[in-house]
């Protein structure tokens, strides 16, 4: 549905950062146009114009104006659409905690990438860091259903897109989330039961195929 108030999401199918936005938009009941972008080949003019600084997805276009960076987009959706169900809690202290942990969740992807890209000592270091990151997240989740308590919210949206990447990280990192951090494992399954999440995420096998593709692309064996 085109028009002044339209939302367009420039995205890439397997991007967990894009998926954060897809899940957020679905949770908030906001209609939008999904626009798959070519990332490994030639980037579109629209992408380059919308995010000239980083040339990355996701980009949310709202009435033609671009918002970049996944967590900035999530904050923006809450603020620009105040009538829709909020992702962030109302209390400022709880919001600060949510922002802290959502930013921290980026580490899963950053460290995970080093796990499949690097070898030797660097790989060993990444293994160690991944264990710390997952232990910290598990500790913060505790026995709660979701990170902020009973309700699915900001931190869950930020973190859950990395769930289909975990089986690959487990393979490259030689660990098992279910064994070491069963609460986190249960949380991922619980989130996966939500329609917004189920519709936005791809199965782990597809993610693993993509990692293999990236390894070829970077000349990593």
């Amino acid at each position: 549905m085109a028009g002044e108030k339209s939302l367009v999401l420039l995205d890439f199918w397997v991007s967990p950062f894009g998926q954060r936005c897809r899940i957020a938009l679905a949770e908030k009941g906001l209609e939008y146009e999904y626009s798959e972008q070519e990332l490994l080949g030639t980037k579109s003019d629209l992408l380059l114009r919308s995010n000239p600084v980083h040339k990355k997805i996701p980009v949310l276009l709202h009435a033609g104006r671009p918002v970049n960076e996944s967590l900035v987009i999530l904050n923006y959706l809450d603020e620009a659409f105040p009538a829709s169900p909020p992702l962030l809690p109302a209390d400022p202290y709880a919001r600060a905690q949510a922002r802290f942990w959502a930013a921290y969740s980026d580490k899963v992807y950053e460290v995970g990438t080093r796990l499949w890209k690097l070898k030797g000592d660097a790989h060993g270091q990444a293994k160690k860091e991944m264990a710390e990151v997952l232990a910290n997240l598990d500790g913060e989740l505790g026995d709660k259903a979701f990170f902020s308590g009973d309700e699915f919210g900001f931190v869950d949206v930020a973190l859950v897109p990395f769930a289909p990447w975990l089986p690959s990280y487990e393979k490259y990192g030689e660990f098992s989330v279910k064994e070491k951090w069963p609460r986190l494992d249960a949380w991922a399954r619980r989130c996966g039961e939500r329609e917004s999440v189920a519709k936005s995420l791809h199965p782990p096998e597809k993610v693993d195929e993509f990692i293999t593709l990236l390894k070829k692309h970077y000349g990593i064996e």
């Binding site: 900035v72 987009i73 904050n75 603020e79 600060a96 922002r99």
Partner: protein
């Protein structure tokens, strides 16, 4: 002048840009707080228990509850003390998103190289990092033109805003970087708007006395961490 309400405590290190930006915001909002200078080589129990994961400064402790990560702290102060002093983030959602974008850019493209310059041993790595900061500031020159528009001398328009405090917190270090690498990263010849903004920001009441201005003192202090 509004007070901190429930007591505010800030754990910091005097020359950290991340701490300085929180101090500047506290000043802008006229909030009183207790400042605790941490010895990073001998971290206090309070720091370790308030920020167990990262063990870093700044940590804001408000009514006994810790808030970590400088950009999170600044937004928290803006929300809790919304009535006190100017708003750090603009009111409009799109402008807020723009401010957050540039703040993230600053800490990524200026902050990361800054860290490299401080702690990398090789002169070559320091030089590369200084070049990265130059490039980032060139991009920010354009951003400044867009953000401040016709409205005024700051990224935030007429008054100091989020991007101003985030980028401004590195100003004390630019002269130090020049001494360490020979590169003048903020140069009126390259980025005139930003250079003028830098003078303006450093002279602002909220920033004076917070931003380090004694290059040798900073270098001496840095050396204690390198030895």
């Amino acid at each position: 002048m509004a007070t901190g309400g429930d007591d505010l405590k800030l754990l910091g290190v005097w020359d950290s840009p991340y701490v300085n930006r929180v101090q500047i915001v506290l000043n802008l909002k006229g909030l009183s707080y207790e400042y605790v200078e941490e010895d990073l080589l001998n971290k206090s129990e309070l720091l370790l228990s308030s920020n167990p994961m990262h063990k870093k400064v700044p940590v804001l402790i408000h009514g006994g509850k810790p808030v970590c990560e400088s950009q999170v702290i600044v937004q928290y102060l803006d929300e809790v003390f919304a009535g006190a002093g100017p708003s750090i983030l603009p009111a409009d959602p799109y402008e807020r998103a723009t401010a957050r974008f540039w703040a993230a850019f600053v800490d990524d493209k200026v902050g990361s190289p800054w860290y490299t310059i401080l702690f990398a041993r090789e002169a070559e790595k320091k030089a590369e990092a200084a070049a990265l900061i130059v490039a980032a500031l060139e991009t920010l020159e354009g951003a400044f033109r867009d953000c401040s528009g016709e409205r005024g001398g700051y990224f935030g328009g007429d008054g100091v805003g989020f991007v101003d405090v985030v980028l401004g917190s590195y100003l004390g270090w630019f002269k130090v970087i020049e001494k360490m690498t020979g590169v003048r990263v903020l140069d009126a010849a390259r980025t005139p708007l930003l250079a003028a903004w830098g003078e303006r920001f450093a002279a602002a009441d909220a920033a004076k006395g917070v931003l380090p201005d004694d290059v040798d003192k900073v270098l001496e202090f840095l050396q204690t961490f390198l030895d």
